[in-house]
């Protein structure tokens, strides 16, 4: 919980602006607890700004006349020192800042260089080491917004750089000491999604001693990996390597597993997320739940007696609809937790299952959803993927021709625990197919607006695997892979490609234009071109497997909005930085693991999960996290207590309190993001936005408009 007042100190100041023309709002935030006279005395100083120009090699100096800008900077009001250097971010560059602060008694520093997103922290630290409060540093971006976008307009770029510096100096002249606020971090984390990514992240967090809530929308954990048969390139059985982790997750004391659960609401901020979870009505009590209700020896033990008597038969989604299940069922025998669940859409409430369950009394047909609130310090999204609805590319006949299946359906068919016991059969007649065509890039690398423009990354590899499985299981079977490229990029992947080609899979370099069906035999006719031979191909096969594109799981959009995570242009969740921060997001305290950030194979998924868990554990282990002090402040002597700002705040950070017999506004600093909504609105000008205060912004505007180029 954020504690106001105790850790924060403000420095009430009156500052004269450098430009007499600019209207001055000298509003100093006053704390009632510390009357102005007793405030820590800092001398009223005249502003003395140091300006440092960076060449950035030729990145800036190539388009901007540094000397000219330097001379100009010297003419600006309040500028006490100007310097330039090849690379300001280097050690000697930073050294210049440090030394100049001491030597010239600077009250503020402006570095004209790249984007603050890169080096604001660098120069804030340098200023701090020079003895200045780090928030008296202002950056002027004359690279990304200057030299780089006006590379062929030297004059224009130079003038723009002068403008940028003039504006920055005007603001720097009015900056004040600010102290970042530290808030405690709840010693708990949340992982949303319990596929391999979520499970791995949860295990890492839990083993690091952090209580972890693992939320899974399905009745069991395991995700997509539990649907796979063998995994490339090692050909390990997927369930065999996954179930130990599933069991670990189920048993780990630090993991509180909630299945049939979805995130309903998220409030708060890093270190203090208040998450509401909807535990959907399962219809079946776990043993713990039964005990809590006083049913001795009760609760579901996975015996399956209910399933036997249930009269309703529906397709099993885990088996991609290819195997039947009852309205009360489990996905497969190895589910974790081993608790049955009811599909309310198909349950007819006949009560036969209740009778069959008997004394265990595990079934509650009147069960309702439950909302549970938890508090966590950080959260990881691991929401995974769905297969693109490939029937939209109707040239390949999916859902029209029986013997055209997707890769995930193929996995279930070839899997020993699948609907056919691992015997690959054709849906139309149950015959064993001998000639099977694999269509790669189905729905991927597609700029038509129907499919996805990106590459789905792991389909080349699993298609190789599928070809191998066919050769292994069906003697004299012939797999054909129709491809544009074979992307076997990972460790031992190219060797795997070599192996599969050696085993006899035929590789036809040509994307399949369309598939037709022989109405009598239900065989498929593939139309492609062997682009290497320069000949059109007509190939009759028994079965077609579409390596369909993947896309974010359907529920991702709802969940990511709750956590304030954006999407990239390709639809996957947006990372903080694609190279330097692929597991973080721009929302502090929220991280990404696995395919939800972009298609990945299992090795990369596990690696990203471990990365996310590591990053997510840092604030928790540190115990506190520093918030940038951009929060709003109430200028109580001006506050009329009207309360209109309170409802405007998107973060519910404001409230009205009684002080000295009148109402004034109060900011919960830890919740405040400094968005400026209240500050911009307040009709009495009673709200001071730290680091973006009205006088500072007006000084910037005035400097820009009134202090034109000379």
């Amino acid at each position: 919980m954020a504690e106001k007042k105790t850790k924060k100190e403000t420095a009430p100041k009156k500052k004269e602006t450098a430009k007499p023309a600019a209207p001055v709002k000298t509003a100093a935030p006053v704390k009632t607890a510390a009357p102005a006279e007793k405030a820590p005395a800092k001398e009223q100083k005249e502003a003395r700004i140091g300006v440092f120009l960076c060449h950035c090699g030729t990145n800036i100096a190539g388009s901007v006349d540094i000397e000219d800008v330097q001379e100009y900077a010297k003419t600006l009001p309040n500028v006490a020192h100007v310097d330039n250097y090849q690379y300001m971010c280097s050690t000697p560059g930073q050294g210049k800042v440090k030394e100049a602060i001491k030597e010239h008694n600077l009250t503020g520093v402006v570095v004209a260089a790249c984007s603050p997103r890169l080096h604001e922290p660098t120069f804030r630290t340098a200023s701090k080491e020079g003895g200045l409060n780090p928030f008296r540093f202002e950056m002027a971006n004359i690279r990304e917004q200057g030299s780089w976008v006006h590379m062929h307009d030297r004059e224009g770029a130079t003038e723009k750089a002068k403008d940028a510096i003039r504006i920055a100096v005007a603001k720097a002249s009015l900056l004040q000491d600010l102290i970042p606020k530290s808030v405690p971090v709840e010693h708990a984390a949340m992982v949303v999604g319990a596929g391999i990514a979520g499970m791995q992240a949860a295990l890492d967090l839990a083993n690091a001693g952090i209580k972890t809530y693992l939320i899974e929308k399905n009745p069991t954990i395991g995700g997509r990996m539990s649907q796979l048969d063998k995994t490339f390139p090692t050909l390990d059985c997927s369930q065999c390597i996954l179930t130990p982790k599933m069991v670990d997750v189920g048993r780990n004391e630090n993991i509180e597993l909630m299945t049939c659960a979805e995130v309903e609401n998220v409030e708060g901020y890093i270190g203090n997320f208040d998450v509401t979870i909807r535990k959907k009505a399962r219809g079946v009590l776990s043993m713990e739940e039964a005990e809590a209700k006083g049913i001795v020896g009760g609760g579901c033990n996975g015996c399956g007696d209910c399933e036997v008597v249930c009269p309703v038969i529906k397709p099993n989604p885990f088996e991609m609809g290819m195997k039947p299940r009852k309205a009360i069922y489990i996905y497969h025998p190895q589910v974790v937790p081993l608790i049955y669940h009811i599909d309310w859409d198909s349950c007819i409430k006949c009560n036969l299952c209740v009778e069959a369950c008997g004394d265990k009394k595990a079934i509650d047909l009147e069960m309702q959803d439950e909302l549970v609130k938890v508090k966590v310090g950080t959260a990881i999204l691991a929401t995974g993927y769905d297969i693109f609805p490939i029937e939209k590319k109707d040239e390949w006949g999916y859902k029209k021709y029986e013997n055209v299946v997707t890769s995930l359906e193929f996995e279930r068919l070839i899997c020993a625990s699948g609907p056919t016991g691992g015997h690959l059969v054709r849906p139309s007649d149950g015959a064993t197919p001998k000639k099977v065509a694999f269509l790669l890039c189905a729905g991927s690398r597609d700029s038509t607006g129907i499919g996805h423009p990106y590459c789905s990354r792991f389909c080349c590899m699993y298609s190789l695997k599928h070809a191998h499985q066919i050769i292994e299981k069906i003697p004299d079977a012939q797999p054909y892979l129709f491809y544009m490229d074979i992307r076997s990029f990972g460790k031992m992947y190219e060797e795997f490609y070599y192996r599969i080609q050696d085993e006899g899979a035929k590789f036809m370099r040509g994307r399949v234009a369309n598939v037709l069906e022989d109405p009598t035999t239900k065989n498929l006719i593939i139309n492609a071109e062997d682009t290497l031979l320069n000949r059109p191909i007509s190939l009759e096969v028994d079965m077609v497997v579409l390596a369909a594109a993947v896309e974010p799981a359907a529920e991702t959009d709802k969940t990511r909005k709750l956590f304030g995570v954006s999407r990239s242009m390709d639809g996957w969740l947006l990372e903080a930085h694609p190279k330097l921060n692929p597991c973080g997001t721009t929302t502090a305290g929220v991280f990404l693991a696995g395919v939800c950030q972009g298609p990945k194979d299992i090795p990369d998924t596990v690696a990203s999960s471990e990365g996310a868990a590591s990053a997510a554990s840092i604030p928790i282990h540190m115990g506190e996290v520093e918030l940038e002090p951009y929060f709003a402040q109430c200028i109580e002597e001006k506050c009329a207590g009207c309360g209109m700002c309170v409802n405007l705040c998107p973060y519910q950070a404001l409230s009205l309190v009684e002080k000295d017999g009148r109402k004034v506004m109060q900011v919960t600093e830890a919740k405040c993001k400094g968005c400026g909504t209240c500050g911009g609105f307040c009709p009495g000008g009673a709200i001071w936005m730290q680091h973006f205060a009205t006088p500072q912004i007006i000084a910037q505007i005035d400097a820009f408009l009134l202090g034109g180029a000379k």
């Binding site: 109707d394 040239e395 029209k400 038509t448 369309n514 037709l516 022989d518």
Partner: protein, 296 residues
């Protein structure tokens, strides 16, 4: 009554006038009035003129469009080839300023200016559209149901493709013209690769006849597999290719087919009680007799 300027093209009025007569008469019965459009020319044939110079294609098509703009009526037509020229040029000129200006520069010389004030429709889509006519109305207008006949559909190419520039939905497995055939009481039959081109377009029929009729022959082979009694289409050029093409196939390849080929308007005419004479079916190269025997 929905009124349209009837764009005729070349092959319908000058080789299969029965299509023209059928279109006018059957449409009237279904609440569509096809008005005389005076002075129209060849659309121009998109395969021929598009290949020579697209600018000429735009200009000549625009001239045809303008005749209808002057009538203040949307155009209805019965040929896929004409559809490509008239519909596509209309859309392209409406949306590309530079093209439009270029065309108007040419048309200035004959005192015409493309304004983009009308729309263009294929009669088949008007018949299918419940807002204009619809399947039920077609069914209700049938007095001689084509019962006991198996009719295959050739969609042709320019009506529905490219799907990005058209509005007919799936170009891989359409079924709407089969529905229109069923509305006449016949049994629509699908056949292998039914969306394959007839082979005539792009000037290929004129450039390399045996190449073109080899494509047609591939379709004939697939049609035989399903024992169709007739083939129907919505494009007189495809009709010519299948009709005369069967004779040419016999001459050049020694393969005899004898499958009657009728434009949907001709079928509609028959179903509404028009006689084979009123439809000039005797002008067909392949005799329609075997088909007529089944329905009359």
């Amino acid at each position: 009554m929905h009124e349209y300027a009837f764009f005729l093209g070349c092959i319908a009025p000058n080789r299969y006038p029965g299509c023209e007569a059928a279109a006018i008469k059957t449409s009237e019965k279904l609440g569509i009035k096809l008005l005389e459009l005076q002075g129209a020319s060849c659309c121009p044939a998109p395969g021929a003129f598009g290949s020579i110079d697209l600018n000429i294609w735009y200009a000549m098509a625009a001239r045809n469009l303008l005749l209808a703009e002057q009538m203040k009526k949307d155009i209805a037509l019965i040929c896929n080839g004409c559809y490509k020229s008239i519909y596509e040029v209309n859309e392209k000129l409406k949306h590309h300023k530079e093209l439009r200006e270029g065309v108007n520069e040419v048309l200035k010389g004959i005192d015409m200016e493309f304004k983009g004030t009308i729309d263009v429709w294929h009669l088949a889509e008007l018949l299918y559209d419940p807002k204009i006519c619809g399947l039920q109305k077609i069914r209700d207008s049938v007095t001689v149901p084509l019962e006991g006949t198996r009719i295959a559909v050739h969609y042709g190419c320019h009506l529905m493709k490219p799907k990005k520039e058209r509005h007919f939905g799936s170009t891989e497995h359409p079924y709407w013209i089969e529905e229109m055939v069923a509305a006449l009481g016949a049994e629509p039959v699908e056949y292998r690769n039914k969306m394959l081109c007839c082979g005539a377009g792009g000037g290929v029929r004129g450039y390399d006849l045996v190449h073109a009729i080899d494509i047609t022959n591939e379709k004939m082979i697939n049609l035989r597999e399903v024992k169709a009694d007739a083939l129907t289409e919505v494009c007189p050029f495809c009709q010519l290719q299948f009709d005369r093409g069967q004779i040419e196939i016999e001459e050049k390849f020694g393969v005899k087919w004898g499958l009657p080929v009728l434009h949907y308007n001709e079928l509609l005419g028959l179903a509404q009680g028009m006689s084979p004479q009123e439809l000039a079916l005797d002008l067909h190269a392949v005799s329609c007799e075997p088909f007529l025997e089944k329905i009359l």
